[in-house]
Amino acid sequence: MQKKIIIIFFIFLTSVLLGTSTAGNIFFGDLNPIDEGQFAAWANYMLLGKQMYKDIYIVYGPLHVYPIYILFKIFSPSAFLVRFFLTVGSAVGIIAIYFILDEFRFSKLNKTIVLLVFLLVPATILRQGMGLWAIYVLMVAYSTKSKFWNFLLGIISVVTFLVSSDFGIFIFTVVLIHYTFQYIVSKKIIDVFFQNLFFLLGALTVCVLFFVWSYSEGWLLDYIRVTKDIYISSTGSSAPNGQNFPNPLTILGKKDLLSSLKYFFSKDMLLYESLIIYFVSIFYLFFTFFTNKTHKQEYKFFLFTLYGILTYSVLLTRHGIGHFFYVLPPIIISFGYFLNRLSTNFKKNSLLSLILILLICVYFLRLIYLNNPQIRQLFNLPKYVAMPISNPSRVGSIYISNSQKVKISSIQSFVVKNTEKQDYIFFFDDEPIMYMFTDRLNPTEYDVPFVGGTLEKRIRMLNGIIKYKPKFIFFDKDAWPVDGIPNSKRLPERLFTIKIKQGLTVLPYTVKKLADFVIADDFGIR
């Protein structure tokens, strides 16, 4: 046990040091104005008296945001705290992976290989980590059939939902299928009923606590509204971000053999190549079902595969390799599962086993290679740790580039000089982190304006601006247009297209005073 604790501690420490999170390393790396910025902005608003969901459109669960607010409250707001929280969150996810590997009875070598991949590839995030914890608890609950673990499963399932509604739904789906399956195959249906009952009790316990908390703070209904809205919008054409999933038919349009071959090794194709593992898993499960090998290990792997396939569906709303990392953990673990099966039953003459092991290793190496720039940066880790840091206020002790430092400090000084504490400002492009740096409130609910893509949300945004009259609106010509669509295109209402009467410039920003805007009489309605 002691040995296990030491290993866990070692893994935790290493993952925090190496920065296994997609957010980056806690010692260095430019701040992500959207991914990290949104959490920073939300927690800062809460410090300024705003309420989650009621005043802020939060696309994550409350437990993903509230801890940052607590950290801000204890240590004062800084970007470092956000990164620290996200890194710790991913490290906790890696611990879950360790337990899952244990549950799958990986050999030491294979366990080390898989964990190494996870330490070198930023594949875990807090949301995914919570999902993995829930899957782990599900596996144990299944193995032990104990009421305690089923109760715990209920708790962690709801907690996962409160961290991330999409991963929560995936977990609930897997749990539902698990219980349904158990009702079918179990000899004593009453046992399953009690396990199910304890699961419901666990879930209900967290639900009651959550309802009391959110209702007493007055944002329960808003939480339901926003969560429902996120589901509806993310499954339809109204999804704020996303491009078409790469179409394999593209290869048919390639003019020459070389480009066709290249496509096979492209990042787009990697999405399909990774998917192969789920097909293999399904076929393997079919095979084992008929070979009388369906003992607990296979059933656990079945649940895990199901979870993996569901998480993969997240990619359908995304494009490119960015979000690919979010769905990687189940894929890597599944590859690891087969690596373990092949290597532990390896026979000298089995050429096929050898080829498959090699293919799995190549896949792992390819993933690590994808993260090559970040890995190289790690060699400078001692330098960043030792280096004295002078950052603009609220950045914290992270080594960031000079250009980002200049950008942050100039906007901070402009805002401090030209606005009062109670003034509102609005960043038209997607840079929510600036609200935290400037410690000013957004007049709208949308810190990442591209999220407010539907007409209803655009009008809400406009009404917020009209109501709270921000003193300045900042337009950043260097801001990253999400999915290649700039906000000037996404938010076309006339308010945003009025010519500038007086423009100021603060580095990349063009700053417009609200007084310069004239709302058209007809508002484009007629």
């Binding site: 349904t180 009702y183 079918i184 195959v185 249906i189 509204r225 809205d229 919008s233 339809g236 054409s237 109204s238 999804a239 704020p240 971000n241 996303g242 491009q243 078409n244 999933f245 179409n247 394999p248 038919l249 048919l252 097909f279 399904i282 076929f283 079919f286 095979f287 008929f290 070979t291 009388n292 359908l316 709303t317 494009h319 089995s350 096929l352 591209f450 893509g453 539907t454 007409l455 209803e456 949300k457 009008i459 809400r460 406009l462 009404n463 009209i466 999915d483 290649g484 669509i485 295109k489 996404r490 938010l491 076309p492 007809d522 508002f523 309605i525 007629r526």
Partner: protein, 941 residues
């Protein structure tokens, strides 16, 4: 014949019916009925083949069409926004949106779909009855005879196009399952499961009244059959409950609609009205005693009913052979429990249907009082067929025959001969002194009597002949078909493709106009529901339920309706109140109306030269423009002409001649008649015809004193708001109300999108105000301002919300809780049923053996071999899927409800396309690969 052969034969018949569908001569729907509406037959009128089949043309087909359109759009038809300001669509069970047989309609070309829906209904009824009779230990032959009798008896034939038969066909199946439960010593889960599944499909069938009848009779049958096996009764009842829970997603919305319906309120005020007159019982024996609607002669037996209800409802009509021999069976097999049971059921049902005391008291019970109890009789026909089958079983095999049966049969023959002789003699005598029409009818009737008598006597002969059994059975079936199917041949006719909802010029005009609902004034022009075929909205609805709020308001605004249920007199203000955009009338509604005689009680003798009809009047205005009469054409094609002359004392002032072909039954006819009159004088209109005869003439409707119905229309000088004329042709006028909008709002508003269940408006209000959406207020509607849910109010009958000052989005969304609750109940039940099924299957011996066999085969080969098979199949499946998607690309469109500006909308790329390909691809690849491996494994020895 063993089970396997029977199944193969059943499948062959299934394929045969499908093959026939490719060659059917037109559409299996009596759309020629539309010709009775003047607007659909301005050029040519022909007598419809069966004028009683209105509902299939005026309700079911437009609903099916609407559902298909919505499915093709990729949406589910929860609401129909084209009728009376929006009415629940799926909640109306008669739409049968999810009835499985309708899949043929949704997927196949129209002519095939329409044929297959109904052909497969008969087919299923046949199969289910056959199964039931077999379960009663009837032989293959007598089961065949019995199921033929049931399938082609009156009830399933005359109600074939109705959803009643969707439900009815499950009745024999439920009885079959009950018999299986009765005969099995052990508890067998599958039979109880089949009860649930049957009720589930019967619910989807879409006729709650028939479902209620089935439930009552099935419960009676269960209790009677399983009386000594109480636990089986309990399980059976539980299965029924599960069946209803499975169908909760259809039932719960229905109950909500029923609760808010006008029909329920109306029936509550007139309970116990649905019975057949006792004299209609004669139709059980001689169905065409007064002709039939699909034949040359037809007259209803009683004003309270018609052939459809009394013969179909009689369902009782199964042919004299079946009737006689079921009575014989009652006598011969009186010791048989089933015979006694069915005899009891048949007698009780007759007593209920014909309202015989004390069974008439049933109508005082809560649910019975509201239902169409006369349709119970369809089940009595079924009961007779069952008794007949049991009897025929004995007669064919001649086993254990009652000693005096032969004598009884001889006696029956004698009685039939005697009755036939007497009736024919009487008829012939009577016809000698009768007019031509009556003579012709008697001739037809004699043929009818002879057919029934001869076939019955032939049947008796065949029964006692020494034919081989196979021939005997064939003869019996032919004779039964002669008394049923042949008599009702063409009752449900095929019609020409060109008659399938043709597009008259006024419809083309309406389709080109800005969207808005229409109101018919006077004659039916584009009756409610028919509008669905053309994507036009109608101010009225016809779905046997109707939203109470809207209907009440409509009746309040238009309290007086004509014989077609249409308002006859309207005002601009009244029409505007309901948000109606267009009015279609048979006369110029801007003219002032003088009702010279407005009562229509009877048809006057036809207009012929020796019998002109006149009516005197004092004009209320001087500028006469049109005259409006109510006509009759005796449901025949008349080639005469008639004239309308205006006389000032004896001087003819003006005369107009009208072609009789333009005249329709019970329809208004407007004649342009511009003349200046002196209001102090009295004038006379005279209707005359020089070339008409008793069989080629038209007539006028009139009051009891023989004064014809007549309205005069005068030009009036007015500066009031007026209807704007848009179109006029052949007595059809289209008017518009430019100020009538589909919403009322004091501010700027713009519709962003509008679907039946959802609409989004962009509003700019300069002060706090209200927004009225001209959509009928009904539970389930929700409104959101800037995504915040707000309270909606009933603006009688529309939806009203409060809008604060400023710029807002306002979304209306129809999300009925009843549907959500129903889906929830159905899902829970469905999951539980699936769990139970799998639990049972996993314990079945044959499954365990199958798995064990496969296991043995798998172990023969190394895992590497299996891997290679999987890999090959996987690559193959991927190639197939990619090739398929390449050569048959599917193109989705971006949803019109998407207001987002994102990558998808900018690139006009529907996200669902990826989801569809990805999910389908994943499923296809998995199934193909696993099946490939599995089949390969099974093939290996």
């Amino acid at each position: 014949m063993n089970t396997r052969k029977t199944l193969i034969l059943g499948f062959i018949v299934f394929i045969f019916i499908f093959t026939i569908s490719f060659f059917v001569p037109g559409y299996f729907l009596p759309t020629d009925l539309l010709k009775n509406i003047p607007s659909f037959s301005t050029d040519k009128w022909e007598r419809p083949k069966n004028s009683l089949l209105a509902d299939p043309v005026f309700q079911f087909e437009p609903w099916r069409h609407y559902a298909k359109e919505r499915f093709l759009e990729g949406s589910f038809p929860i609401l129909n926004d084209h009728s009376s300001g929006g009415v629940p669509f799926f909640a109306n069970p008669q739409t049968s949106v999810l009835f499985p047989v309708n899949i043929f309609y949704y997927l196949l070309p129209l002519h095939q779909g329409l044929f297959l829906i109904h052909a497969y209904k008969i087919y299923l009824l046949f199969i289910f009855t056959f199964l039931y009779l077999r379960s009663l230990k009837c032989s293959y032959s007598s089961s065949l005879i019995g199921s033929t009798t049931v399938s082609f008896s009156a009830f399933p034939i005359v109600w074939l196009l109705w959803p009643h038969t969707n439900v009815f066909l499950f009745f024999p199946f439920l009885l079959f399952v009950t018999e299986k439960i009765f005969s099995d010593i052990k508890f067998k889960f599958r039979w109880y499961l089949l009860i649930s599944v049957s009720y589930f499909f019967a619910i989807l069938g879409g006729h709650p009244e028939t479902l209620f009848h089935i439930l009552i009779l099935h419960v009676v049958y269960i209790i009677a059959r399983l009386w000594k096996q109480k636990n089986k009764i309990e399980y059976s009842f539980l299965s029924i409950l599960i069946g209803f829970s499975l169908g909760a997603f259809q039932l719960v919305p229905f109950f909500e609609y029923l609760k808010n319906s006008y029909a329920l309120r109306d029936r509550l005020t007139h309970p116990g009205e649905f019975f057949l007159p006792i004299k209609a019982f004669v139709l059980n024996v001689i169905p065409f005693i007064l002709g039939a609607p699909h034949l040359e002669f037809y007259k209803h037996i009683d004003p309270s009913t018609n052939f459809q209800e009394s013969v179909g409802g009689l369902g009782g009509y199964v042919g004299p052979i079946v009737l006689t021999f079921s009575f014989l069976g009652i006598f011969v097999l009186r010791k048989n429990f089933l015979v006694r049971l069915w005899t009891g059921i048949v007698l009780v049902l007759w007593a209920i249907v014909y309202n015989i005391w004390p069974f008439s008291l049933l109508s005082t019970l809560p649910v019975f009082g509201l239902g169409a109890n006369h349709r119970f009789i369809g089940f009595s026909g079924f009961g007779l067929c069952v008794v007949f089958s049991l009897t025929i079983e004995r007669l064919i095999s001649k086993k254990n025959l009652y000693p005096s049966t032969k004598k009884i049969i001889k006696f029956i023959i004698f009685i039939i001969l005697l009755l036939t002789f007497l009736s024919l003699s009487a008829l012939l005598l009577y016809s000698k002194s009768s007019p031509d029409v009556v003579k012709n009818f008697i001739q037809f009737f004699i043929q009818h009597i002879l057919l029934l008598s001869i076939t019955t006597i032939l049947f008796l002969y065949v029964i006692y002949s020494n034919f081989e059994k196979m021939y005997k059975v064939a003869f019996i079936i032919i004779l039964i078909l002669l008394q049923t199917a042949v008599l009702f041949w063409d009752y449900n006719p095929f019609t020409d493709k060109k008659d399938y909802y043709p597009e008259p010029s006024f419809v083309s005009k309406l389709k080109k106009l800005e969207q808005g609902s229409i109101l018919e004034v006077g004659n039916p022009v584009l009756p409610e529901n028919i509008n669905l075929m053309y994507g036009i909205s109608h101010a009225e609805n016809y779905d046997a339920m109707e939203v109470e709020g809207y209907k009440k308001k409509f009746d309040e605004i238009f309290p007086k309706k004509n014989q077609w249920g249409n308002p006859d007199d309207i005002t601009y203000e009244n029409v505007k109140k309901l948000g109606i955009k267009y009015v279609i009338s048979d006369y110029d509604i801007t003219l002032a109306k003088q009702k010279v005689q407005a009562i229509y009680k009877k048809i006057l003798p036809s207009i012929i030269s020796s019998r002109p009809i006149s009516i005197e009047f004092a004009p209320s205005n001087s500028n006469l423009r049109q005259i409006r009469i109510l006509t009759a054409n005796f449901n025949r094609k008349n080639n005469c002409t008639f004239s309308v002359s205006l006389f000032d004392y004896k001087t003819e002032i003006k005369k107009e001649t009208v072609d009789c072909l333009k005249i329709r039954d019970f329809m208004y006819f407007t004649i342009p008649f511009s003349v200046t009159l002196d209001t102090s004088k009295k004038y006379t209109f005279v209707f005359d015809s020089k070339n008409a005869s008793s069989t080629n003439s038209i007539a006028l409707w009139a009051d009891e004193q023989n004064n014809p119905f007549m309205e005069l229309l005068y030009k009036q000088e007015t500066e009031k708001e007026q209807f704007l004329p848009i179109w006029n042709e052949d007595n059809i006028f289209i008017w518009s109300l430019p100020e009538s909008l589909n919403s009322e709002f004091l501010g700027n508003s713009k519709i962003i999108y509008q679907t039946p269940e959802e609409s989004l408006f962009l509003l700019q209000a300069n002060k706090d105000t209200e927004f009225i959406l001209k959509e009928t207020y009904f539970p389930g509607w929700e409104a959101y301002i800037d995504e915040n849910k707000i309270t909606i109010h009933n603006a009688d009958p529309f939806i009203k919300v409060s809008v604060p000052k400023g710029i807002h989005t306002l979304k209306f969304s129809y999300k009925p809780y009843s549907l959500i609750v129903g889906i929830f109940i159905s899902s829970i039940t469905f999951t539980a049923v699936i769990i139970l099924i799998f639990r049972k299957i996993s314990k079945e011996d044959y499954i365990l053996m199958l798995i064990e066999n496969i296991r043995k085969k798998i172990k023969k080969y190394s895992w590497q071999s299996h891997f290679l098979v999987f890999a090959t199949a996987f690559v193959l499946s991927v190639l197939i899927f990619i090739s398929f998607t390449y050569y048959f690309p599917l193109h989705f469109t971006v949803s019109k409800t998407s207001t987002s500006i994102n990558w998808f909308t900018i690139n006009n790329y529907p996200k669902q396309q990826d989801m569809f390909f990805f999910i389908i691809g994943f499923i296809f690849t998995t199934i193909f690969t696993v099946l490939f491996w599995f089949i390969l494994l099974c093939k290996r020895k």
